[in-house]
Structures are given as C-alpha cells and as structure tokens.
C-alpha cells in the first residue's frame, strides 16, 4: 500500500498548520461594511489634525512627529512583507540604511535635490530586496529570520569598510544639509520637512492600501495563507514573493532616505539590528496585517524608549521591556485586534 498518497495535511489538528496559522493575528483587518463611514471620518479627521498640528507645536515636537511618520512608512513596508505575504524579516535595517546612504551620497556628493533621492533610494532598495528575496524563497520561518538577520548584522560592518570610505565616510558618516521650504512658503525647515514627509507618507500609504485590495495584493495574501493552492490558482509564487521583498524594501528605503534628510546625518551605527527589531516591535504593536497600525507602531518606536528613560535612567531598559509586555497583555494582536474587539463589543450591545 502506498503510504504516500493519502497522507493529508489535517487542518484542525495537524502539526504544521497550527504554527503557520498563528503567525498573524486572526483579525486581518478591522474592516466591515458598516464601519465604512466611521473609518472615513476618522481618516479625514486625522488628516486635518496632521495638517494643522505644526502650527501649534514646538519645532522639536514637529521633528519628532516627522520621525514617527518616517518609521511608520518603514513599518508599512515590513507589514506588506510580513503581514500580507507571510515572510519574516529582521533585515529591514539594511534597506533603511541603503535608502539613507543613497540620499546622503546623492545629495552631498552628486548635488542631487533631496526630492529626487527618494525614488532613487526606493528603486535601488527594490532591486536589492528583490535580489535578496530570490535565495530567500527557499527559506522559511526561523531560517528566513536568520538569513535576514545576517543582512542586518552585516550592514553596519560593510558601511565601515575602508574601500568604501570615499563614499560612505567610514565610521564618521555623512552630514547632510537640511533643505529649505520651496516656493517661498512661510515654513521653517522642520515644518517643511514635516509636510513633505506627510505628503510622501500619504501617497505611499494610499498606494499600499490600493495594493492590498487589488489582484496583486490578494495574490500576496493567498501565498501567505496557502502557497500550494495559490500556485494552483495561477499565482507565480516565486515571482510574487521576491517582488514582495522588493516592494517592502522600496518602502523601507524611501523611509531611510527621508530619515537621513530629517536627521541630517548618516552613520553606520544608526543602522544596526536594533533598528530592525524596532520595526518588528512597531509592526506587532500596531497590528500585523493592518496598515494604519504603522502610525501607532512608529510612535511607539520613537516615544516609548524616551518615556522609559524618564521613568528611570538606570532601569530604562527594564521599564521599556515591561511597557512592551504590558501592551501585549492588553492587546495581544496589537492595536488592530484591540480596535476590532472594541468595535465588536460596541456592536454586540
């Protein structure tokens, strides 16, 4: 009797699906027809708030908000890969670094306008991400984690290499001149970069949202949920997975370029594994598979370490860790799951 044929993968009690299913929070997106108007209202309200906010806040806060949006863009990128395509990455600090250095080198050595560095950074990262995604096709779960981790570990070291010093500035890094507001707009540099980042972020967010509700986005999610069935439906899984890596790197690379411009400085040690882990934490607290969560994740990434520092200098790491644990206790599936729970509670009443 051939043992092979009817050895089936059982869905309710089998061994492998259990882990795979749980990679991502069950509520893929707290979206329902009835919530449509509320969601739109919230979106518009936030947008209006975002536009008027710089008028009422100090420059430093404006800078922080800009940085939050930059992180959020990177997290959206990671979400496209992890949340929607089911691939894990600890290597996104590498793409962020490539984006940042691209912007810095193009601005300071080639004299290119900061605006144009963004698409260039994005495209370079797309290509790198795609190329990295090809061998990564053969790896899953912890193995992919290790491979992407290698990428993150190698990045600062490569940036420091002496043959590259001419471009990268070695350990010293590169200082960037902050751009002024164009067209004589009555904005200071921080305010202008805030609006610039807001517009870029908005475009990228809408593009990501379009994508995940389209044919291409569904193919990505199909691969996440069941790669074999996806192939049988005509999805070229290898091409899509590698492209997802590329696209994810594109977002993170653009974020890196923006980050370099607003911080006015790039140096190898800003792009370590810690940054990758930060993106991952931001992704999870915002909600895996839910795009708007990135903003919450970005804010978490920027503000929570500061809060921890304020609570206790000596034990800031411990405070940070405990805050993180507390958040996961309250919302195990991130903000996305939490909001969905609230919505369903309210509707249940």
């Amino acid at each position: 009797m051939s043992a092979h044929e009817e050895t089936v993968v059982h869905h309710d009690i089998g061994e492998s699906p259990e882990g795979a299913e749980r990679l991502i929070a069950k509520p893929a997106a707290p979206e329902a027809k009835a919530g449509l108007q509320l969601r739109h209202f919230v979106f518009v309200a936030l947008l209006v708030l975002a536009f008027v906010l710089p008028a009422f806040t100090k420059n430093f806060v404006v800078f922080q908000l800009t940085q939050t949006m930059v992180y959020a863009i990177a997290i959206v990128g990671l979400n496209l890969l992890t949340g929607f395509n089911g691939q894990f990455s600890l290597g996104h600090s590498a793409f962020y670094a490539v984006g940042a250095y691209t912007a810095a080198i193009l601005m300071e050595q080639a004299g290119l306008s900061y605006v144009w560095t963004l698409p260039v950074a994005g495209i370079i990262c797309f290509i790198l991400g795609f190329l990295f995604g090809l061998p990564a096709l053969r790896l899953e779960g912890v193995y992919l984690a290790l491979a992407t981790f290698a990428l993150a570990a190698a990045t600062p070291q490569i940036l420091k290499l002496s043959p590259l010093e001419h471009w990268t500035g070695g350990v010293q890094g590169i200082v960037i001149t902050k751009p002024d507001a164009p067209f004589g707009l009555p904005l200071n540099q921080d305010q202008w970069l805030y609006y610039f980042t807001l517009i870029v972020g908005l475009i990228l967010y809408l593009a990501a949202r379009n994508l995940v509700t389209s044919r291409t986005g569904r193919a990505l999610m199909a691969i996440r949920d069941n790669p074999i069935a996806a192939r049988s439906m005509g999805v070229n899984t290898s091409l899509y997975k590698a492209s997802a890596f590329g696209l994810s790197a594109f977002y993170t690379g653009v974020a890196g370029a923006l980050g370099a411009i607003i911080v006015q400085f790039v140096a190898p040690d800003s792009f370590t594994l810690t940054l990758s882990i930060g993106f991952l934490v931001g992704l999870v607290v915002g909600g895996v598979g839910w795009l708007p969560g990135a903003l919450f994740g970005g804010a978490f990434l920027l503000f929570v370490p500061n809060i921890a520092e304020n609570v206790s200098k000596g034990l800031s790491g411990a405070v940070y860790g405990l805050l993180l644990i507390a958040i996961i206790y309250v919302m195990p599936s991130g903000l996305a799951g939490f909001l969905q729970l609230i919505v369903s509670k309210v509707r249940g009443k």
Partner: protein, 237 residues
C-alpha cells in the same frame, strides 16, 4: 446498566454562531451510542464539548460528576479517549511511540508493554510498522493507530469522530468489525459520530438524531434505522 455519561442542556457557540441549543442525551455503561445528523448539525462540537475543547454551558456528568469546565487533559485522565476527526496521530513519531503516548497518563507503567502487545494482536498491521513514522502510514492504518492509541488509555469511554472519513469501504468494514469486537472484549463504551449512518446504526445500541444543534429523535438503533423518515433523509435508501 447505569448511566456513564449524561449531557444536560448543553449549549455551545463558535463566536457569535450558536451551534448547540440545549442538548440532552445519555450513554449507557458498556454500550455503543451513535450521534447522527447532517453536516453542521453540531455532532463534532458535541464531542469537543465533552472533552473541554470548546466553551459551553449546561451540565456534562461523567460517572455522576460534572466535568464541564475541566481541561481537556483532565477529562482524558478520567478515562475519556477522544479520537478526533483527522485522527490526530503524532505523525513524526513512530507507531510504538504513538501507543506509548496513549498510555502516558497511566500510573501502572508495568502493564503498558503488555497492552502494547495486545494492540499489536488486535491490529497486526501496526506491528509490522511499529518503528515507522506514523505520518507514513496509509489513511486506514492511521485510523487503526488512532483507535489503538485511544485504547492504550484503558478508557471508560471512547469518542469517535467520523472514523470512516476518507477510508475505502473495505477498510471501513474491517474497522467497524474491530470496533464491535473491542466493545465486546474490552468493555469500552463508545460514542460514535458518523456521516455513514447505516454503518453506525449497524453497531450501535442507541442512537440520537441531531438537527441544527438539537436532538430531534432518539431511541434504540434498530428502531431509528427502521424509521421511514430517517431512512429517507439520513441513510439514503
């Protein structure tokens, strides 16, 4: 005969969908009972509720004590062996290790080797494959292994969920013969959920008919099997 299991006013839901609407039924000690019904009637949920695998309300008396709310492992330790749909074999372990695992909660470790040999007598094909990984067995062999593993618990009650699922008729026939023998020889009480109603009624003493979460008919298996309406809607002849 005394009541081994009594289920009173059992209700269960998955999320917002109510699946069981106040179920009442009971099982005789040493008997074979079958739970029949269409797809989605709540048969599997009933078994899962007994084993503490789904949240539910009501009462489940096992040997007179309420077990509702107990954890799955505690229910198993009381002597309830559940063979789930899809069999739940440990696919990456050997046949023998699977049998060992069936007896893992038993305290009388010295009797386990003897019981394993007994299982190999009941299921000679498993003996040939004792060192093979369970995942490499055929569907029929895996079902046999699941039953043998359940018996290793020396259960007071066996719950079988669709034992014939995905098996060829010949294998099904053989398996039901073994179940009948086991019921006789090992005095194992059984609650069988089956889509193949004719088969289940063939070996059952009592039968309950489940329709969208409620019992709509109950009685001796022979009587249910003879009912004109039941025959037409559930047995297909």
């Amino acid at each position: 005969m005394s009541k081994l299991l009594e289920v009173k006013n059992l209700r269960a839901s998955y999320g917002q969908v109510r699946v069981l609407h106040g179920l009442n039924f009971s099982l005789e000690e040493g008997g074979v009972t079958t739970l029949l019904g269409a797809n989605g009637a709540g048969k599997t949920t009933t078994l899962r509720a007994i084993c503490g695998m789904v949240k539910c309300s009501g009462e489940i008396l096992f040997e007179g004590k309420n077990i509702l709310g107990k954890s799955t492992e505690d229910v198993a330790r009381l002597g309830v062996a559940h063979i789930p749909e899809g069999r739940g074999t440990f696919t990456r372990m050997t046949v023998e290790e699977n049998l060992q695992l069936g007896a893992i909660s038993r305290r009388d470790t010295q009797n386990i080797p003897k019981d394993i040999d007994k299982m190999f007598d009941h299921f000679p094909r498993l003996k040939q494959r004792r060192t093979q990984q369970a995942g490499t067995l055929s569907g029929g062999e895996q079902q046999m292994l699941a039953i043998a593993r359940a018996l290793m618990l020396r259960p007071r009650l066996m719950l079988l969920d669709e034992p014939s699922f995905g098996l060829a008729p010949l294998v099904v026939k053989e398996m039901f013969e073994i179940l009948t023998a086991l019921n006789r020889e090992e005095k194992a009480s059984m609650l069988i959920v089956e889509q193949n109603a004719a088969l289940a009624l063939g070996i059952a003493d009592e039968a309950y008919l489940l329709e969208t979460g409620s019992i709509v008919m109950s009685g001796p298996a022979k009587q249910i099997g003879a009912d004109e309406n039941v025959r037409r809607s559930y047995l297909g002849y």
